[in-house]
Subunit: 208 residues, 2 copies
Amino acid sequence: MKIPKPAIRRLAVYYRCLQRLKEEGKEKTSSKELAQRLGIKACQIRKDLSYFGEFGKRGVGYNIDNLLEKLKAILGLESVWKAIVIGAGNLGKAIAGYKGIKEQGFDVVALFDVDGRKVGKKVNEAEIHHMDDLEEFVKENNVKIAVICVPKESAQQVAEAAEKAGVEGILNFAPTVINVSVPVENVDIAVSLKSLTFQIIRRKGKEK
Amino acid sequence: MKIPKPAIRRLAVYYRCLQRLKEEGKEKTSSKELAQRLGIKACQIRKDLSYFGEFGKRGVGYNIDNLLEKLKAILGLESVWKAIVIGAGNLGKAIAGYKGIKEQGFDVVALFDVDGRKVGKKVNEAEIHHMDDLEEFVKENNVKIAVICVPKESAQQVAEAAEKAGVEGILNFAPTVINVSVPVENVDIAVSLKSLTFQIIRRKGKEK
DNA sequence: TAGATTGTTAATCGATTAACAATC
DNA sequence: TAGATTGTTAATCGATTAACAATC
């Protein structure tokens, strides 16, 4: 079955909302409650879930623990994903040190940089290695994900090196399109800012 | 006219690609060339541009300088946008110190945090202020954009404070939905990672 | 039973793409 | 003129939403 790309991102959002509901001590919820919290339509939530199965009880709703387990399996979060951060600048170090990522089932096991002076330093438990050691490290440590935090000029080259080394997916923070055969997710701060300024201007135009 | 939301983000990507072409010394380009660089269809580029006017010459293509100017106006980049970063943790400091943002017409003029020990320290030229001084600072300095880098628990409250202080748009890095009346763009690292793991798993399923 | 809420179908809406006349 | 490339229309494709039977 074809699954809309936006539906996947929403599943991840539902997952987080369910975690929150659980923290609040709730045991069951409904598409209506989730929809209200997230500002979307209830039928969209039901539709998104229906791509993968029937997880609720009619007339009752969803058991939170159960739905969390199901989403965990769908999103591939049953085991911890080993990741590396390439580019140990401010952003790379911030990502590597970000606790939220570990909580969500991702483990940044090392950073890589071309700057020899950074090699050996640590960000939490993760050590900074030299780029020359990338391939060996990825293979020996079974790293699955590379987070690219290098300047745009070297992003394509770094992505190719990561793919060659054997990573299976790339999270790209560099402001450029990268072309590899493994899946890539882009986090584009500059583009998001520009989309924001466009909306601000449009909004002002409409106010009048 | 209704403009597809994805089209706006693509305009920002075209803008960046044109900057790159210019750096390479080129003076003209075509929808075909841009499409090849960006891995999308040429007719999509022409369609996206057509929402805003006619910027090319039939049989010839686009003048890069001219198209850059037009996109600059569309995206609202003709003047510098003053921004603040709220939350002076690792991520907040990394964003504030990120040179790419300044190059693109955004100026982070200050950071804010509730931790008094951080107050007075600097990230490049931007000083860290206490949250209590947010409203006064925003008003006096004509700040338009707030970048939220606080934990999810305080994100909603901080967003409301920023809105009340007078910012016109919010870039939200906190992993939660925030509800305000000004435009919000979300940069959701955890969601992007989960979307990535879903794709990795699906891809493996198909290979067999 | 009556009320609630799911899962799913069908309708609507929105976005992308193909195709081509216009024109440089 | 011949070749190239735009701008735009119409067709297609994909995503969202409304509505409701199923059922707890």
